[in-house]
Amino acid sequence: MCRKNTGNQDQQHSEIGYGVMNANRIHSMKWRYIRQQVFFVTVRLSALIIALALGGILLYIIINGIGAISWDFISMPPTDSMTKGGIMPAIVGTLYLTIGAIAIGLPLGVVSAIYLTEYARQGRIIRIIKVGINCLAGVPSVVFGLFGLGFFVVFLKFGSSILAGSLTLSFLIMPTIIGASEEALKAVPQTFREASLALGVSKWQTTLRIVLPTALPGILTGSILGIGRAAGETAPIMFTAAAYFTAKLPGSIFDEVMALPYHIYVLATAGTNIEQTRPLQYGTVLVLVALVLGIDLIAIVIRSYMRKQKRW
């Protein structure tokens, strides 16, 4: 009986004779065990390679970048045609763009998710919306850049500006926020809603006062991962917001800004002083990675803490 389930070639031999079959079985058990061990080693190895890739990249960036970091590097603008000085305008620009992207993307995403989880009934329109969200999540970042250029910069005449860049980034991170919010809203127990509705509270009040506050920590930690993405993207802001160099900080949302990712790209690929400015490049890379992964790490830690704390 048990022969049959192994499904390999030695099942043909099972009718040959008891002694042979027994020897076969011993051989086969050993073989099955060896195969399993080989598989486990391969699988562990692939996990190890991924961990080493992350560790190697981070370690390399920290070792090479730490020497460039100083208070002046963080707080001064670039000088001498960007071969010396700091990166303060790029840090400020990235903060503005990211805050703008959250301010637009978070409300839009959360409200979309509320409709999809609390109000929508399954049907064709909902299906179209969900496919739309999935497709939006798959749009290449450079196409978002083209869209921002064609629509916000040219069609709506915002020019290359914080506004155009933030709007472009907000649509880029919207699918992430919707996904995180949907998951958090679905995790709110149905009994919470039923208890509230049974007290005569309207559906909207229930959603606003009971469901949303319960889901909020989950929504926020999930969304933080999207925020990290907004801070680190380069292609969407290349044609919509990022300036090669600005001496002054932006005065309004219609100004161009420097941004950390674009600054790295410019220093590493353009100009004649690529080798000379390596320390600046490593420093900028370290600041960007610390910013983005710092944000992500906070989200990951809070989330695992919340999972342990969960009371229902």
Binding site: N5, V111, Y119, A120, V139, V142, T269, L288
Partner: protein, 295 residues
């Protein structure tokens, strides 16, 4: 206003918000076509897609993006050769084999890997992998297909791993238990029961990972080398579509032919990723395994 009308009104307002994603998708198509379509008055669609020469600034300019398409396809395929096994195997390890503590750490590692900005990975390829390739294989440049593929694989692994992992978790417990009860080893259960049941989800993961790789911009812009010719070896440099768009848009005169050609390249790139995503969506919907009862 009665409570009933108010509730209805709220529902409609929320519905409008939910439509924003679809609306944005529509606006993307609108913007790309508005800026890109005029090129086809000058160049036929066939010549644009199958033209072998991309000399947008010569006189007369030549707009054939075939070498760019080949560049994109080549780096995507080669990166998948690395990313698919690593992504799927690591997902199997996380979902089926790893002890709980290792599982948590590994999931965080993959999430952090996904969080590294693409420009940082591109930079890493430029300063670490490129010189190494150049010295080891004695090449004129280390910015080539191999370099770009390795870095793209790093970017695609988190996508493939996390979606595959979800698919593996979704396999009903009863399947596993039935398999163990019949005397199957863990290896046999994984390869003959769990993976086949999760295959649609794993396929979705692979398609989405490849879609991510083909659309990734900064990495191919910084480490693929930028030569707009059809490559002959893995050490040749290429100019995938996103790299071409990002590198040239800054210099292309506003609404000139070159500008339009870059938007048209964007249309091709967008259509490719859209097809990938629709296939992924179709596969995951059609073969969705919602419980043991449906098999």
């Amino acid at each position: 206003m009665s409570r009933h009308t108010k509730e209805k009104l709220i529902k409609y307002v929320l519905f409008l918000f939910a439509l924003v994603s679809v609306l944005v998708l529509g606006l993307i198509v609108f913007s790309l076509f508005r800026e890109g379509l005029p090129i086809f008055k000058k160049v036929s669609l066939y010549d644009f897609i199958f033209g072998l020469e991309w000399y947008p600034t010569s006189d007369p300019p030549l707009f054939g993006i075939f070498p760019l398409i080949v560049g994109s396809v080549v780096v995507t395929l080669i990166s998948s050769l690395m990313a698919v096994p690593l992504g799927v195997l690591s997902a199997i390890y996380i979902a089926e084999i790893a002890p709980a503590s290792v599982k948590e750490i590994l999931k965080s590692i993959i999430e952090l890997l996904a969080g590294i900005p693409s420009v940082v990975l591109g930079f890493f390829g430029m300063v670490v992998i490129a010189p190494w390739l150049q010295n080891t294989f004695d090449l004129p440049t280390g910015l080539n297909i191999i370099n770009a593929s390795v870095i793209l694989a790093v970017m695609a692994i988190p996508t493939i791993s996390s979606i595959s992992e979800d698919a593996l978790y979704a396999v009903p417990r009863e399947f596993k238990e039935a398999s163990y009860a019949l005397g199957a080893t863990k290896f046999e259960t994984i390869t003959r029961v769990i993976i086949p049941s999760a295959l649609s989800g794993i396929s979705t993961a692979v398609i989405l990972g490849m879609s991510r790789a083909i659309g990734e911009t900064m990495v191919v812009l910084m480490v693929a080398g930028g030569s707009a010719a059809i490559p002959e070896s893995l050490f040749d440099s290429v100019r995938p579509m996103p790299a071409s768009i990002a590198a040239e848009m800054g210099e292309a005169p506003y609404r000139g032919l070159h500008y339009q050609a870059l938007f048209a390249t964007g249309i091709v790139l967008f259509s490719l990723t859209l097809i990938f995503n629709l296939i992924a969506d179709y596969v995951s919907e059609k073969y969705r395994q919602s419980g043991s009862a449906t098999l």
